[in-house]
Homo-oligomer: 288 residues x 2
Amino acid sequence: VDAVVEGVHFRRAWSSPAQIAARAVGAALSDLAAMAADPGEIYVTLGLPAGTAPGFCEELADGFVAASRRYGAVLAGGDTVASPVLFASVTVVGRAAEGEGFIQRSGARPGDLVAVTGSFGGAAAGLMVLEGEAAANDSGSLDPAIVQALITRQIAPQPRLAEGSALRGSGVTALIDVSDGLVADLGHIARSSGVAIRIDGDLVPMQPGVAAVARSCGRRPSELALSGGEDYELAMALPPEHLATVRNAVEGKGCDFTVIGEVVSGSGVEVSGADPEAGSLPGFDHFR
Amino acid sequence: VDAVVEGVHFRRAWSSPAQIAARAVGAALSDLAAMAADPGEIYVTLGLPAGTAPGFCEELADGFVAASRRYGAVLAGGDTVASPVLFASVTVVGRAAEGEGFIQRSGARPGDLVAVTGSFGGAAAGLMVLEGEAAANDSGSLDPAIVQALITRQIAPQPRLAEGSALRGSGVTALIDVSDGLVADLGHIARSSGVAIRIDGDLVPMQPGVAAVARSCGRRPSELALSGGEDYELAMALPPEHLATVRNAVEGKGCDFTVIGEVVSGSGVEVSGADPEAGSLPGFDHFR
């Protein structure tokens, strides 16, 4: 279940109705990818302010149908209600074939490796560009296509459904999607599994352009990569003997795969590397 | 899927957190009763304004757990998001045993009888009392218990799940829950089935106190009963030869059962009876 509220999670000035729908569906489906489940039915509630243009409502509804189809899910039901603020709540029901099971957060064991899909910091950097905090074009060095990719990462994230599905039976012991921030979400695995996680901040792959955008705002690149959130990549723990199988499963879907650390006894998440403060960064707090 | 928004569907001054939760769950489950399905899983999204008291949030969460349990459903997931307005969106997944099927709106045929469970107008009258429009206590004739029952009907409606479930295999040809208003919801059956429905407004059972509250506000009692909505009773069509079976199924659950009209060829809903304007009443329009 995942909900987006205007002014909190999206702005109409930045996103088309189709993009608002795609972001809401993508974020909800990412929770299925995080359990290696396949998408089934999708149910959508739309809260619509009085005076919302009929054309906007139709584009939004079409967007939910299109986004559901794109990921092989079925938009099976919904409701529309009057509301002072525009919101969308998306419930997705997922399945795995009997016997294959889901991958949860709680199976990480000392000795496991810690790895991630794709790259980080893009959604946070995209938000800084959209908010005008980052004068990306004035930095002189950024390709417009790279800036556009950062913005797209923020307004239309792609859930790693194919990669999650491919991880079933691969030997992965714990899995999560990175929505709150990499360190915060690894903290969820550590807590659920009763272990500690150590990562090398310098190994965390960054989306192209993230470092330049961070520097143009006087922010540390590692801050965006380690605590930015909303990239909807997958993070996982796996026994070293399954490394080749897991790597092949992810890379077989055309997605990068990077080992960034290890599971040890203890509790919490420890970050080493060139940025001395990187380990103490908070993740996204929904109510801060 | 059913959502409630503060100021639109409930007010914190009128309802405890447990009642807000019970109303949201009850309204959503009523859509399952309307298809003669049994409740399975419930998924809840809560939109919470900044500064909402933790105690209020906990009571609300406890209320969703309690309301789900009360109807044999399982609260299986959810999300909480920051929002400028308090809202709850409830998705319920229902089932019927294989082969038994669901009852839809589209099976009514000319010659069928039209019947309803329970009584009508109570939720609308309760709202008038809550809004202070009805000076119920000043009318001099109303028992406080009757007034309280009207208020309870508004703030904590009971879905007819047991009755809906008992109707499977009874011969009912079309079924709906009355949320928008009796005439409006019978209109949904008429349209889906490609038939017309004729009812006698004088036969529609009214909750005790509805007539007195309506008169104290200068409103017609039939207006509340026929177009008030939110009573969450069931309305149905059935061939006359199944009348005894259907009546026994409903009354066996301790619920009143009343035949109020018939299905004929044509389209629309026609209301006869003592109130000459009763037939032209609009139902609840969510965006009016």
